[in-house]
Amino acid sequence: MEHTTDKKSALSQGVIIFIYLAILTALEFGIAIALPNVVLLLLVAVIKAGLVAYYYMHIYRLAREDAGEDRDSYAYRLATNRLGLWLFLLSDSFVFGGLLISRINLLGLERPALNQYLGLFVTAVLLISSFSMNRAETSIEHGDKKNFLFWLGVTFVLGLGFVVGVVGGEWQLAKLEGVIASRDVVGGIFYMMTGMHAFHVTTGLIFIFLVWRNGRRGYFTAEKHWGVEAAAVYWHFVDVVWLGLFLFVYWL
């Protein structure tokens, strides 16, 4: 798929990617329930992560050489900021990598007793929030402040819904199922992984709130909106991490 710059096709590209993600998630869920094949599940998760990283997080922008020579220009600093943010994400992904390895080391391929439908539901909420975040970012790229604020608000509400779903729903249900932090290592690793991710989502929500408030004051324009881009890339990163955790917590 080509990268489009005009607003309408940029927005519809977001829709198409979202449909792909939804279909792949449904497929993944089907595989996980019907024929739990680890290799297939990993493959689908990697494809999903790749779609988000490329189309929603715009990783290709790192390689862009059009920032010019003027070190003090906004474009040059923007490119430096992007590199800094991606280095941070690289560093952060090692935390989750360590958690995934710990999970395999401690539990092997044993599947904890968790509510699969609630897991699918919170995953869907987070994926939709990634889609709305993409719409918000695309809107501000074209100077559409009204839609930008609207979709950013939607993202915030969905993100909040995700945290409530995990902490308020999944954690309480898991407790009833006997997955308890201090009882055994199954509970320990489940709360550690989901808790670490919920912490990241919470920081993302604070970030989105600050961007939304500054956006309402007219701080961002079509040309200068690094704050929005950073919040969006971070939010999609948290989403990608969940794609991995969803697989490792619920299905392996």
Partner: protein
């Protein structure tokens, strides 16, 4: 009082205390309200201490002023990249954005921790000089020994960060680091980190060694390990953010013409180091966090009774902590390669190979961690692959030695040798001793015998002194005039070198000898029948001689800042850009930018040029 409060560091520490108290009160209050016990042997339960530590860290950072620009951004305001620093030494206590000020802050903090950790070592070294118990309790011994390790590690992290912060922007011709606020933030994280590390002492101490292996570090009867883990966690973030900043700076802010293979060797070393600290540090953070949570919430990650696995901790821990030793030494080895050509007036032998060897050490370093675990009970089939990957590290390290020897070959050195050069040569010798004693530890058959003996202690002190401490001193003697416009005293410098070098060699050779004969590391006492008494006295005397030499250095440093011989020109006749402008360096670095027009280390080649300043 008002004046005291206006000093950012003092204000931060006041709020750190308030934050600690508030956090403790909050958790203790909740526990009381829920009817849970709120008191322990150490006043409050560890939940309260840990939460207090987290709140105290945030309170320090928020009140100190290092985040004030970010607070403004969050309110939607723009800020300037240049803040006016207060005149004089007060700027070193505040949130300056200037990479040179931050570099000096790091360096001074590193020296303070070096002296602290060194004092701990002297205390327990004295205890060990005679058989039987002298004046320490076993618990105190363990605490001093554990904190000596971790405080020295933090000191090394600060020392390399100091060198990298001060030098890298100057060497690549950048006005500052890519993210100046983040740079200041990274440094100021270290203050709360050091406070928590030291606070672990009154809270029962740390008995598990610097590695903090559970189950010993999960012993719930003392609170100390929690503060130790918290301190390391915060210091780790300082290291991660500093590395992020450095990579972005080198990638984005090199001056014109500085292509991949015209970057100074020290910058290559800094990049290799930063790649390790950016990524692997997260794993030690995670492993320590998991022990903290095991203690706080009973999550049994490393508790076999709950299905946990203590070996997992060792894997996560060493995945950082082995690459970390390469992280400690790479900048030092970069300093050696940087300084040798200047002093012997010859091109650096094999520039590209040296540059790539730094990256090679960093990358192979990620594949060797389990060689610390040959006796730990991990799967036996893992031993041989990790043995070979470890031996592989000797190849890129050997490349560096070949380069140094070939660069020294037939070089002409000024007489008398300057202290900086003495330390360069000293580090090559000491690092060679450390390097040669490495392969016996990597080889499984000998490792099983050597594991946890004093031989290992001698080996890694050699690598860290040769790879960090000696080059760090060399760098201080070499670049001190750049920072201050004055030289360190050469006579005191020679005293410093000729005291520290022989005593250090005797110290580590002695450690290795009694280690081979069966002296265990980390123990409070030893069997008189082993006959180590004389050696332990020799080791203690050597340790005190090292301490005296460092004291001489500190006196030299303090004196020379004010009264040192003036040196504003190109003191070493170097080709490097920072020496082409007068010392001390002006606030915004180069007033006219430079362009790289030649190879960096073509010393002694007539007509060759490295940089050219662009006339405006």
């Amino acid at each position: 009082m008002k004046k005291f409060y206006s000093v950012p560091l003092a204000r931060g520490l006041v709020w750190l205390t308030i934050g600690l108290a508030a956090g403790i009160a909050f958790v203790a209050g909740i526990r009381l309200a829920l009817g849970l016990p709120a008191a322990s042997n150490y006043l409050f339960t560890e939940h309260a201490w840990v939460f207090g530590g987290v709140v105290g860290t945030l309170a320090f950072l928020a009140s100190h002023g290092v985040m004030s620009d970010w607070f403004k951004w969050w309110r939607g305001q723009e800020t300037s990249d240049h803040h006016d620093d207060p005149a004089g030494w007060l700027k070193y206590l505040g949130p300056s954005l200037d990479h040179k000020v931050i570099g000096i802050q790091y360096t001074v903090a590193a020296l303070i921790l070096l002296v602290t950790g060194g004092t701990f070592a002297l205390i327990f070294r004295t205890e060990l000089s005679f058989e039987g118990q002298q004046f320490l309790q076993p618990g105190q011994y363990n605490t001093l020994m554990s904190l000596h390790g971790m405080i020295m590690i933090v000191s090394i992290l600060l020392g390399i960060a100091g060198m990298m912060n001060y030098l890298v922007p100057l060497l690549i011709g950048a006005p500052d680091m890519a993210f100046p606020r983040l740079n200041a933030f990274s440094f100021w994280l270290v203050v709360p980190a050091s406070v928590w590390l030291l606070l672990s002492m009154p809270l029962g101490g740390v008995e598990a060694g610097w590695t903090g292996y559970p189950p010993l570090s999960a012993n719930p009867s003392i609170v100390g390990p929690q503060m130790f883990f918290l301190g390391v966690f915060v210091a780790g973030w300082s290291s991660i953010l500093g590395a992020l900043n450095l990579i972005a700076t080198v990638v984005r802010m090199r001056s014109k013409g500085m292509t991949t293979f015209r970057v100074p060797i020290f910058v290559w070393a800094a990049i290799a180091t930063s790649l390790i600290s950016l990524t692997a540090t997260q794993l030690i953070g995670l492993s320590f966090q998991m022990v903290m949570f095991q203690r706080l919430f009973g999550m049994g990650f490393f508790d076999p009774a709950k299905g946990g696995n203590p070996i997992l901790f060792q894997h996560l821990f060493w995945f950082y902590s082995h690459p970390a030793v390469y992280l400690f030494i790479l900048p030092g080895l970069g300093v050696i390669s940087e300084l040798l050509p200047v002093f012997v007036r010859k091109p650096l032998f094999g520039y590209k190979w040296v540059a790539m060897s730094s990256l090679g050490i960093a990358l192979v370093g990620f594949l060797v961690w389990a060689h610390h675990m040959f006796t730990s009970g991990m799967n036996e089939y893992l031993r041989v692959p990790f043995m070979y990957s470890t031996l592989l590290v000797a190849v890129p390290t050997g490349v560096k030695f070949f380069s140094w020897v070939a660069t020294l070959w037939k070089g002409k050195v000024d007489h008398p040798m300057s202290t900086a050069f003495l330390f360069v040569v000293g580090s090559i010798v000491v690092f060679l001793m450390g390097g040669l004693t490495g392969p016996p530890n990597a080889t499984v058959s000998t490792n099983l015998h050597l594991h946890d003996t004093y031989w290992i202690v001698g080996h890694f002190h050699d690598t860290l002194f040769g790879g960090f401490v000696f080059p760090f001193f060399a760098a201080l003697y070499y670049w001190f005039p750049k920072a201050t416009g004055r030289r360190l005293d050469e006579k005191l410098g020679r005293w410093h070198f000729w005291l520290i070098f022989p005593s250090f060699v005797i110290l580590t050779l002695g450690m290795m000898r009694i280690g081979l004969l069966g002296m265990r590391r980390r123990i409070f006492d030893y069997d008189p029948a082993l006959g180590f008494q004389t050696w332990h006295i020799v080791l203690t005397v050597a340790a005190f001689l090292i301490a005296i030499s460092v004291l001489i250095f500190i006196i030299n440093l303090v004196q020379s800042v004010k009264r040192g011989e003036s040196a504003t020109g190109n003191l070493w006749n170097s080709r490097s850009p920072e020496w082409q402008v007068p010392s001390p360096m002006p606030a915004h670095n180069y007033e006219t930018p430079f362009e790289v027009v030649g190879e960096p280390y073509d010393y002694g080649l007539p007509g060759s040029k490295y940089v050219e300043f662009v006339k405006k």
